[in-house]
Symmetry: C2
Subunit: 131 residues, 2 copies
């Protein structure tokens, strides 16, 4: 992968959605959905060039190099776009955990009649991730 | 599932993102990601009540009862929320195909150095779906 998508003109269409497209990260081996975040064109280009997932943080209004502090990076194996070319799917190798709460996936809670139920094991103590 | 999530107060947080949350549909058996769309609170509630996925169409500005015309509905088995409670993950049984282009998943194209490459079989002729 790496710089492959750089040269492609027919990737995600950043003229849509105000230039900010949802990007879903899925584990390339287990197919578990790890997280969803957003990419602008710059984040996408850097992802292509480095082979490591870079998102755009809407709250911090800047590039978010996933795992830069924690080391929990995502090696991007493949990139897909949906039929409208306004949603990105990344097939990744997740180092450590995707979620800042210490779970492998951000989707660690199921909605049930009794409220939210945690359905995954916490793998990492969040305090150990962000010192 | 069905009305289970109706009674939950701690589901998705529709005070975020202008009341419109991304919802990812994943095949409950194969774990293939089928599509991503949006839900407002009304769509979410109807999904809970009926057990069938209902989205909100941003282009048509109204509820989108997935499969209403085509019959290609999504039976919702489980619902998850992410750590911020602003993204929804639906584990579904897809009847027919998710994509209006006739592919099982909307993510049927990979981004490669040579442009977009179709990596899935077209299962249904789109003309047969929307008569």
């Amino acid at each position: 992968m790496a710089s492959e998508c750089k040269s492609s003109e027919k990737g995600p269409d950043f003229s849509k959605n105000g230039g900010l497209l949802p990007a879903i990260a899925q584990d390339s081996k287990t197919h578990q959905i790890l997280m969803m975040a957003y990419m602008n064109e710059e984040a996408y280009r850097e992802t292509c060039e480095t082979g490591t997932a870079v998102y755009y943080s809407r709250s911090r209004e800047k590039l978010w190099r996933k795992g830069e502090e924690s080391g929990h990076v995502q090696k991007v194996k493949k990139i897909y776009v949906d039929c409208d070319r306004d949603t990105i799917l990344l097939s990744v190798e997740q180092q450590g955990v995707a979620c800042h709460e210490g779970y492998r996936s951000c989707f660690y809670r199921e909605v049930t009649a009794d409220g939210l139920r945690v359905v995954a094991e916490r793998v990492v103590d969040p305090a150990d991730v962000y010192k």
